[in-house]
């Protein structure tokens, strides 16, 4: 096909990069052609983001050469690569929180010096246009701080689309996007491909790779273990390449019938969070999935239950007792745990070691009498690192030195250790690789079996469908439907979009 004949746009050869003693990349070869979507795959910590950072000039490689359209590249900086036509959606949105969306987009896209004239009206219009193109439905004059994670992700994508770059890199752009935004993104990426842009696409969702990518390169422990055409490989083969072993991708089934009601909501609302009139019940041993579009109020509901935005209407019962948590620490004391959506801002304290992060929510239990016990703490941390296969240099490694997926695992480990009555998971497996993902699913199932009530928010529809015993669908801040587990995706999507069947 046309891809085979296309000349390489970008060629990397023998790229090496170490962070201190950690060898993140050990001689990676990579080639991107014009008009192809090239998927980059690998376990958490395999070196994907590092490779991207090398291409964008954010990190200087220790060794190796790069060629862009036949011309060798020297020392790169982000400014240089931008001028060369390389644009990137980073794994974590890196926007200025106190500026508006339009200003953020303008800063990325507009050329010119610091004294240039800013045409505010045009800047606003262009930003609006880009937002519509990626399917965002919030106005461009919103401050980024007010946006949720997936909304920020959409802004990032809008920036990249507007750049008109010939190489576009997307590092897990869909990690927190739901089906509708994802479908929109795919349309746009296909348009880009048709226009001759080279796209590097990173994702842990294999079905995305198969529906979008032309070729795939797999990284393992900082080495490329091969590039193949996507149509020549199966999902199982890909996993084997990536993990080095077979991984059962089946969702663990519910084994026992759910027990007594643990959580019951009666008309719960919170005006500040935009949640209104939510009623449902979750029983012990049950996993209650929450589906819905970006902005449907799933995270907002979770935050209300966790006391971060206390409810101002309705009643919440936990094991029959009425509760009204007014802060997260109250909620934790009551036995509620919440794994937040934004791991870098809320899930881990990046400056602190893994060990401190893991024990942060269970101080009273690990440290009776408030005395620190370093030995016990290290033991717990090592346990978590082993259970979730966190790739790190040890329990003392700071959160900031971990790859995105490994930070997510630490954030999860903290709350799995709390032994709560109600466990709320907000995108528990975002950015987590296939192997660890099925391990996490097993752990969640096991906890449910031990008698927890679990609420699981996930934008990964197969995950919601596969894991949930019942599925609540949210729309416009309220619960619009409750569907049985194993419903088919179309029913769920229709409910999320508010289309009557």
């Amino acid at each position: 096909m046309r891809h085979e004949t296309a000349a390489p746009l970008l060629t990397l050869a023998g790229i090496k990069k170490s962070y201190g003693a950690v060898r993140a990349l050990q001689g990676v070869d990579f080639e991107l052609r014009a008009g192809e979507v090239h998927a980059l795959l690998g376990e958490n910590g395999a070196g994907k983001s590092t490779l991207i950072n090398v291409i964008t000039g954010a990190r200087t490689p220790d060794a190796g050469t790069m060629t862009l359209a036949g011309r060798p590249l020297g020392e790169l900086t982000p400014a240089v690569t931008r001028a060369l036509g390389i644009a990137c959606v980073h794994q974590q949105p890196a926007l200025f929180a106190d500026l508006t969306v339009a200003e953020n987009i303008g800063l990325r896209l507009e050329g010119g010096g610091p004294w240039r004239w800013v045409d505010w009206r045009r800047r606003g219009q262009e930003a609006e246009q880009l937002l519509r193109r990626v399917g965002a439905d919030f106005p461009a004059n919103r401050t980024v701080r007010e946006l949720s994670m997936p909304e920020q992700q959409l802004v990032e994508i809008a920036c990249v689309l507007g750049s008109g770059a010939r190489i576009i890199i997307m590092d897990e752009p869909t990690a927190s996007l739901t089906h509708r935004e994802q479908a929109r993104l795919f349309t746009v990426v296909r348009e880009l491909r048709a226009a001759g842009t080279g796209v590097i696409y990173i994702s842990h969702r294999l079905e995305e790779i198969f529906s979008l990518a032309d070729r795939v390169t797999v990284l393992r422990d900082g080495e490329s273990v091969g590039t193949q055409a996507v149509r020549d490989i199966t999902e199982a083969g890909l996993i084997k390449l990536m993990v080095g072993r077979e991984v059962a991708q089946l969702y663990p089934p519910a084994e026992s019938a759910p027990g007594e009601t643990v959580l019951e909501l009666k008309g719960v609302g919170c005006r500040r969070a935009g949640v209104r009139d939510v009623s449902f019940a979750v029983r012990a041993g049950e996993i209650f999935g929450l589906a819905g579009l970006v902005g449907a109020g799933r995270t907002e509901l979770a935050r209300t239950l966790f006391g971060l935005t206390p409810a101002d209407a309705g009643e919440i019962f936990l094991q029959g007792a009425r509760i009204h948590p007014r802060s997260a620490s109250e909620a934790v004391a009551l036995g509620v745990a919440y794994v937040p959506e934004d791991r870098r801002r809320h899930g881990v304290v990046l400056e602190m070691p893994i060990a401190h992060n893991v024990t942060m929510a269970i101080h009273p239990r690990v440290f009776p009498g408030a005395w620190l016990r370093f030995g016990a703490e290290e033991g717990l941390a090592c346990q978590a690192i082993r259970d979730l296969a966190v790739k790190c240099s040890g329990p003392d490694a700071p959160g900031s030195s971990l790859s995105g997926g490994n930070q997510q695992k630490v954030s999860l480990a903290r709350w799995l250790a709390t032994k709560p009555k109600l466990l709320i998971l907000d995108e528990p497996t975002q950015g987590v690789d296939v192997g660890a993902k099925s391990e996490i699913h097993r752990i969640i199932r096991r906890l449910a079996k031990e008698g927890l009530a679990v609420i699981m928010i996930s934008s990964d529809l197969p995950e919601v469908l596969g894991m949930s015993d019942r599925i609540g669908v949210m729309r416009g801040g309220t619960l619009s439907a409750i569907l049985p587990g194993g419903s088919d995706p179309h029913t769920v999507m229709a409910a999320a979009l508010g289309q009557a069947k």
Binding site: T50, I52, L308, S329, R345, M352, M360, L372, D396
Partner: protein, 345 residues
Amino acid sequence: MNQNSPSAGWKSVVLRYETLLLAVLVVEWFFFYHYGTTVNRKGVVVGFGTLDRQFDILRHSCEIGLLALALTPVILTAGIDLSVGSLLGLCAIIFGKLWREGGLELPLAAVLTLLAGALAGGLNAGLITRLRLPPLIVTLGTYSLFRGLAEALTHGAVTYTDFPAEFLFFGQERWLGLPTQAWLFLLAAIAVWVLVHRTTFGRSFRAIGFSPEGARYAGLPVGHRTGLVYVLAGLIAALAALIYTARLGQAKADAGTGYELFAITAVVLGGTSIFGGRGSVSGTLLGVAAIAVLKNGLACLPVVIRMNAAEEMSGMFTGALLLLALAGSILPNILSTLRLRPQAG
């Protein structure tokens, strides 16, 4: 640094900021030992190295040292307390008034003074955690408020003196070979060290300092812990007020003026990050010592004595030392953040 993890190897010990500071302190001390001379009350020339002088340094650094101890947890939470110096003055006056005009026994007056200090700290705490006002603004306000109160209570004129010898013992005598207040200081230092480095309180202070949002999402009682550091600061400032009064034998409204700045300098010099999260009590103690030795040592350099400029010189050199320390500790951070800025993953 400063994570006091038990598994740190020798290299991380040598390269620790505290070790560096200790080296600076030793060099400083030997410099003054070599060049410093002074004339004592009897007109005899004595060197900087005498035991008496060391005790003098110790005596003079106890109050600022206590304030620095009080500020260490505060700054660890990325907060600041500018009011501790003024509170020292207010507590001294409260103590004097309770004893002289209230006719209370000294121990009772002392206990009530400590309570008053904690209460005043509680005012800071309430304003900061309940009303969510920035610590800098709140304590800038109480900085004036406390000093003003102290002056109002004394009409700007009254000084309480003639304390009995049993009380002056705490500020002017020795006990077990050391100045008495040094023992109190040591006790306070151990208490704060344990709190910061060996309990979950210290752990929470750091988490709050690094990321208040992250700490809140982890279910830590952020408001309570933040309030606690200011209450504690008030309590320790009151203790400093008692020692101050015992050392000088008088309680006056301008006691401790400007001490808060010396204390903050000592804490920052000791390697505690003004942005919160990082820091240690041992660093603070070294910072206090470095400033005290500098101040005292300069006063016995012949050049400085001739110019009669000990105060000015010590101010200048303390400032220079602080800037140097900051440059030394921040530079690597700045460089690495510049390199890391557009990082992903």
